[in-house]
Point group: none
Chain length 511, copies 2
């Protein structure tokens, strides 16, 4: 690259960094809205968020970006015929910026606006419909959203199915057929495992999970665990919200939230570990590239792998409770007097078919996801009408999990995603589980006796391994290449199945 081209690259980076600063401002006022804002201040806040979104959108589709990218691509191509697969800084930034710019300029402004309106309205209608257990009230809004998302997919373009175009937003480069095959294989292997567990006569003491623990004690224990994991409180904080989330407000400002149910301490503990896992990924992304697409997650599946790894591979391990049970007893007091490592380990790994995704155990969780993936794909492709969705949902639950929702509220109305236009998002949850298991298997190989480390409360080796292998990579490698690069093989469901069999086999006396 000559000096002129280098200046063009710098101009591109400056533009992207300022846009990112403004988007992070949007994240701050969004965080505030959900955690601190006085009740009457909502309407004006919405105006502020819409105004900021308009300003950042204009910056994202600024034709200058297209011109800069044309010039830089020509320069890179002249220097290196393989620049499109290079992992050097500049080719990566240019490729990622191109991907983002092209996706955005392809969608017409009035479609963006219609989608925004439909999703804002859709979420309000969904909330009321869920409250009233009335799917018919939600159906027209869902039909509209599916129709607009199909238009969006057409505008973006795809090879096989419109689902490709939407999935690609969350899992760059992923193909629907490949994801479908992976998920179907997992389903076929999970169903007999879950059935065998259902037939087992061994049962944990479930009361351990529902013992009454005051919120402040849950918070103190949760924070202790989060600190031990390595969530950096000088660069982040924890607050309380109805729906837990993780949001990044700047290179040294990542905030997570959790909720406290005094009759379900496990909800806040595993919620905190989950969001801390997300937060540590954000805190570990390569800081020097903040504001550039290189310092972003490789994909939402990889993001989810970081939360699930800490929540499930670590937090639901026997080794974890060997170290943390004494601390839990200190914080929680007498309700935990009779709890043993064995009894709590079994209780937090209780497997049973249930109706609600967010309360599902590690094994059945992926069946909940499979159902959603199949249904949203069919709706988008036009083979399932939204009007027929509740029946399809209920039949699928009966088939995969052996349970049938008595109401739509406990069935098809339970998730916020579709009402907010998030079609193509659900599979990232299962991909995250699979990536977590495959990464953890490799970490176990690399780190020696990881169980002994966890049982000694020493979570630093695992954290450092994740930081070096996953976090620091940012989006330099796309998700599939990252997994293969770190673990030595393509993503597979073997490690997940292996993990579940090794854990659940002994607990439920099945082989």
């Amino acid at each position: 690259m000559n000096d002129t081209q280098r200046k063009t690259y710098d101009a591109l980076c400056d533009h992207l960094r300022d846009t990112s600063r403004l988007e992070a401002v949007g994240a701050i006022i969004g965080w505030d809205e959900q955690t601190k804002m006085p009740s009457a201040a909502g309407p004006y806040r919405a105006e502020q968020m819409a105004l900021l979104a308009g300003i950042t959108h204009e910056r994202h589709v600024d034709p200058k970006i297209g011109e800069w990218l044309d010039e830089l691509e020509a320069a890179l191509g002249a220097d290196d015929p393989d620049w499109r697969t290079s992992t050097d800084d500049i080719p990566v930034v240019v490729r990622l910026a191109r991907r983002d710019y092209d996706r955005r300029v392809k969608v017409p402004g009035d479609l963006v606006e219609s989608l925004t309106m439909a999703c804002v309205r859709g979420q309000q209608i969904w909330a009321a419909a869920r409250e009233a257990d009335d799917f018919q009230a939600f159906r027209p809004a869902l039909e509209e959203i599916v129709k607009l998302k199909r238009e969006e997919a057409e505008a973006i373009g795809y090879d096989d199915t419109p689902y490709d175009a939407l999935l690609d937003e969350f899992e760059p480069g992923a193909k629907t057929t490949e994801v479908a095959a992976l998920l179907a294989d997992l389903r076929d292997r999970l169903v007999p495992l879950v059935a065998a567990i259902a037939d087992s006569e061994r049962r944990c003491d479930q009361t351990i999970l529902t013992r009454k623990i005051p919120a402040d004690r849950q918070a103190a224990f949760g924070e202790e665990v989060s600190r031990a994991m390595g969530f950096d409180f000088e660069r982040g904080r924890i607050d309380t919200t109805t729906h837990p989330f993780c949001t990044t407000l700047g290179p040294a400002d990542c905030r997570i939230t959790t909720r406290y149910d005094e009759s379900f301490w496990a909800g806040s503990l595993y919620g905190t570990m989950h969001e801390s896992g997300h937060g540590m990924y954000e805190q570990g992304l390569p800081e020097a590239f903040y504001g550039l697409p290189l310092r972003e997650c490789a994909s939402l599946g990889v993001h989810e792998s970081q939360s699930r790894l800490w929540e499930n591979m670590v937090g639901r391990s026997r080794a974890f409770w060997e170290h943390f049970l004494p601390s839990a007893k200190r914080h929680f007091g007498s309700p935990f007097d009779d709890v043993t490592v064995d009894s709590i380990y079994f209780a937090v790994n209780d497997v049973r078919a249930s109706l609600i995704r967010v309360e599902a155990d590690e094994a059945t969780y992926n069946l909940h996801i499979m159902i959603r993936f199949e249904l949203e794909k069919e709706m988008l492709e036009g083979t399932l009408s939204p009007a027929d969705l509740p029946d399809a949902w209920n039949e699928r639950y009966e088939g995969y999990l052996g349970v049938r929702p008595p109401t739509d509220r406990e069935g098809v109305l339970q998730d916020i995603h579709w009402s907010g236009g998030l079609i193509g998002y659900f599979p990232t949850y299962t991909l995250g589980n699979l990536v977590a298991a495959q990464l953890f298997e490799k970490a176990r190989e690399d780190l020696g006796d990881i169980d002994a480390q966890i049982a000694a409360g020493d979570l630093a080796p695992l954290r450092d391994w994740l930081r070096a292998n996953v976090h620091r990579s940012g989006s330099r490698l796309p998700a599939d290449r990252l997994v293969e690069h770190v673990t030595g093989r393509p993503l597979s469901d073997d490690p997940m199945l292996d993990h579940l069999q090794k854990k659940l086999g002994p607990l439920y006396g099945i082989s």
Copy 2:
């Protein structure tokens, strides 16, 4: 006005409202910075604030505004030769927009950005320097700020002294010489009063103020008083910061802060009352004009009058304690067992020379202000170097108050103002005291037995009087005309002196 002109007026208002939305975004991220932000996130936040300030600055100096105003002024002048003194909506909005536009176009964009950056960093450096009692750590930041503020004053222009240009930002239309004369007169009349009190042998039981009260009990009592005053918690909230402040984040989002010293409950109570007074003014401004200059305070002196009126005229009255002492006893418990209305009334009106402005009594407070007014004026005019500031500060305290700060932390580092670029701001505190006394004198005339109302805990008549006479006026009238309009005469220090003599005379047995 014809339709075209009306459309121009609407375009102006839309533009101003969007700018205001973005400025309120800046207020949100500024509030967050001071109350919630993780410690390491400061530098990036400063970049975000500078970027936003740049965007709003560009909107403020958009040449379209100048063109719109030219057209509107011509139209108004054609309709009404007296439009420049009219208090109708449109002439007021046009006049205020013109004032703001003209001030701003004079200051170059890069100076605005440098100032924002210097002040955000300055506040962070000041907080650390104050903590460490290390003026030298703060000095370079202060030098930079003074230099930039002088450049700002030169850009704006002034008749007598650069101080005029800065003072005018906070007290539109006020002149340094007039303010200096009013303050000098007040000092000349205060000194004998304070001297007479020093000679008095009567002394309150000061231990009442330092009895140890846990922070959460102070917070509960403070919130009760704030609610009784009428601060609206659905449109606001209270948080904890080192330096209390009030900030407005939207038409229904006003936030105040206070601090809790377990050995000085009066600090948090009167801080909360003070900031609640500010907050109620903000909450009472005419909502329909949000985002337009009409819905702004008449001046910072008038703003301060609202905080000081509640803090001093109400909160330090005997009537207040007749009603609220039982409640304080309920919250504070045994440390307040022996406290009587008489003893607490005397204690909260204890007059003595002290080091800390925000803890100063009503009488000596204005001497603290005079010191700051003189020093900042000298720094700005270049006759005092920031390097010599601590000595000058300490000498002035010795001279005016007879006390010498043992540390800079209790001296020149105590206030946040200069670190945030607020030069020309301090005199508004004393102006606020004078306005408060003059308004309260008039409210007493209008409302009948105001003491009986307060003693019955009925603060609504006073709140409603302030709302109707002061808050709802916004900046429709400039500060001097507002005071004269409401009280029937120009601002004077007579009501303040009268108030102090009537209160302190009997307490200290002087006439």
